[in-house]
Amino acid sequence: MTTITNKAQNPTAHLSPEDVEALGAELDAIRQSVLEARGEKDAAYIRRMVDLQRKLELGSRAVLLVSAFPPAWVLGTAGLSVAKILENMEIGHNVMHGQWDWMRDPKIHSSTWEWDNASTAEGWKHSHNEVHHTYTNIVGKDNDLGYGIMRVDEEQRWYPMYLAQPLWNFINACFFEYGIAAYDLELGKNLAKPKDKRPESFKKAAKATLRKIRKQATKDYVINPALAAPTGSFLPALAANFTANVIRNLWSHSVIMCGHFPEGVETFELKSIPEKETRGEWYLRQMLGSANISGSKLMHIMTGNLSHQIEHHLFPDLPSSRYAEVAPQVRAIFEKYGLNYHSAPLPQQVGSAWHRVVRLSFPNGWLATTNAKNLPTQLKMLYALATADRRTRRVIQLRLEREARKIEAAKAA
């Protein structure tokens, strides 16, 4: 992907500033209609969801008390995985967005909610609500793009170490909650500083995060297994908790990758963002920078309605349960203004996101120009790109890009 301002065909070129503001006004009208409609039914929905989640978790943990019995292990692990996913996705993420603040219920409020995750609510609200949702897909500003450790854009320089990025991405997926905690803390940037130069706010947040991680780990890997010990289920219960955490991590990582990573989702250059971005311009960036997952109602709930990533990014503070209903209206606005509403089923979006991770782990154009027949020469070229002098590297790189363009043109023809 290339930031839109560096593309041959800027997908927003056909829109005048007036169009952008008109589009913003239409989206504001949709938002207002939901604000006016939301009420008792919405409140009942989230309360029912919280009730269901807690009973499911409690029930699953009870079943795991006898998890030495294999069917109990399978049942309890499955239930606990679903409960953790619901807690993080449809409840925690959305409550912390303030989607339910309008109920004025102090127990279901963005300022009081703490979630079942290694990262603290406080840290998450900063890195996610504030940074990611405000600076969505601006390269260098939005940490969600590659979490600072991956090459997610053609414009980022390629280094040999990026060859390992599919592996990192997989490891990050398995332990995603710790990855999130780390980038909430901007761990890499802060640890690089000498100890006495690290900001006070970082030290405080790091302490809170370590405390949270300790409590979470004590719950999942000490106390709940210990409670199961009398039936000889200590190790099975421990394994169940670990499995449920990994399943939750893999799932949430996949859903989040689908939101902004699939091929065709746009990224933005920091210098192309006006000093004072208008509401219409901000809306437009959210529209182009997000992708939806199509599927069943159950799938929408399990993704915390992040399957409606486009609607979520346009209206992050509207109740998640309303996204499905406004999606057709939002889609109509995309069509009216000639913009691409990016939506596909889950396997396709996950595949597309992974394709991008793999493609960008190689130098630009390398993957597209490689086939079984030319693999040996391509590998030689890759070796040269990693080791040769600057001039040679540039020549090879230019050749690769030219070849890739040729292949693309042939495909298009």
């Binding site: 504001d28 207002q32 604000l35 939301r38 009420g39 008792e40 039914k41 919405d42 409140a43 009942a44 009730d51 807690r54 009973k55 409690l58 943990r61 912390m96 967005h97 303030g98 603040d101 309008w102 109920m103 004025r104 219920d105 102090p106 127990k107 409020h109 963005s110 300022s111 703490e114 979630w115 079942d116 609200k125 900063h126 609500n129 504030e130 949702h133 405000t134 949270k212 409590k215 979470q216 004590t218 719950k219 106390i223 709940n224 409670l227 509401r279 901000w282 992050p316 503070d317």
Partner: protein
């Protein structure tokens, strides 16, 4: 010289074994369900038990209409309810269209044997909570409760001394008084008659709009009190001249009054001039101005600052330019990083003009949380910050 140290008494000794075990077990279970607590989970099964994490709640037992637009709601309060004295009021949090709103109502049943409490609500035209309670509340629904408050209560009876009382009420101002009367006469009729000599002056729009009309008239017929009913449609508004005429021994009576602000102001002036005792109960102590644009922002917490602002500037910007250290985030209304509790006042959402109002005694005791980055003052506002 010698010093002797007394052995610690039983009460001062560390908590005995079983209690320590209980708290130990409790913290173990809390650690097993973190970041929730065991109480959070128990709330889903037994919300009325003592120590509920959501705080004190009550379950509606019955809703019975008193007049066309008034109803008595009987509530089974949670086990943490500490009881009340007749005449006191309770703050009630009600979910109306999904939004929790708080109002204050007098308790209309004295302590009952079944432990239930009741409030009697008159549906005010356009009143979100009163309309909801009278028209749509159903048995089984939950209400948030605070503990009973208020000093609008009778002095306990003294042996051999019959207290002479004048009770002046208008409209729904009868509600704290009916609580007192029910408590007096439901226990020991003879004892209550001997202890109190009561004159009740009650004013209402029409005869059939008198809440508890039949009950009051029955008390009068049984000779438990002297009832003077005034109906404003035929008799006009109650004046102090009317009172003097109807109650010749007014000066000898301890007075209690509850009703609209106009009536209470008049009575307070009258009693003040004569240095006589008057207890009053006001239902709406604070009126929030919601039509203003801008106002004074008061930060009543550790910030201790006050800032003048107009109706076009976000509260966050106004406070920051005046040097108040404010929490902030995206500055466009999406991240909830700037939320602060407003204890009183009104703010307008700059995006769509929606008004949010906090009235002490009517909204949640801790205030209403608002986003300062997209809200402008619509009148004077006080924040806990």
């Amino acid at each position: 010289m010698s010093t002797t140290t007394a052995a610690p008494s039983a009460a001062e000794r560390p908590a005995p074994g079983p209690r320590r075990l209980r708290t130990g077990l409790r913290s173990l279970l809390d650690a097993a369900v973190t970041p929730l607590s065991v109480d959070d989970l128990l709330d889903h099964f037994a919300p009325l038990r003592p120590g509920a994490a959501v705080g004190l709640q009550g379950r509606i037992v019955s809703v019975a209409s008193e007049t066309d637009d008034a109803a008595t709601i009987v509530v089974k309060p949670g086990r943490d309810w500490q009881g009340h004295i007749p005449g006191q009021y309770v703050r009630v949090g009600v979910d109306v269209d999904g939004v929790r709103l708080w109002r204050t109502y007098s308790l209309t049943h004295g302590p009952r044997r079944d432990g239930h409490i009741s409030i009697t609500v008159k549906a005010i035209p356009g009143g979100a909570v009163s309309q909801h309670l009278v028209r749509t509340a159903r048995p089984g629904q939950m209400l948030q409760l605070a503990q009973a408050e208020g000093d609008f209560v009778l002095t306990p009876p003294q042996a051999g001394n019959r207290q002479k009382l004048l009770l002046v009420t208008a409209g729904s101002g009868i509600t704290p008084v009916i609580g007192m009367l029910r408590n007096l006469y439901s226990r020991n009729d003879a004892e209550a008659r001997a202890a109190y000599d009561i004159v009740l002056v009650h004013s209402a729009m029409k005869r059939d709009e008198v809440i508890f009309g039949a009950e009051l008239r029955a008390h009068a017929e049984a000779g438990r009190l002297r009832l003077i009913e005034r109906h404003t449609d035929t008799d006009g508004l109650l004046t102090t001249d009317d009172l003097e005429n109807e109650v010749p021994d007014l000066a000898e009576r301890t007075a209690y009054a509850c009703g609209p602000a106009g009536l209470l102001d008049t009575l307070e002036a009258y009693y003040g001039e004569r240095r006589l005792t008057l207890h009053t109960e006001r239902f709406r102590p604070t009126v929030v101005d919601v039509d203003a644009a801008g106002g004074t922002l008061t930060f009543a917490g550790s910030s201790a600052a006050s800032v003048e602002t107009d109706g076009s500037v976000p509260i966050l910007d106004a406070a920051e330019s005046a040097g108040v250290l404010m929490p902030s985030g995206c500055r466009m209304g999406i991240c909830m990083g700037c939320v602060l509790p407003m204890k009183s006042g009104a703010v307008r959402d700059l995006r769509n003009g929606d008004l949010t109002v906090a009235v002490p005694g009517e909204t949640h005791p801790d205030g209403v949380k608002i986003q300062t980055c997209i809200s402008a003052a619509a009148g004077d506002c006080t924040f806990d910050h």
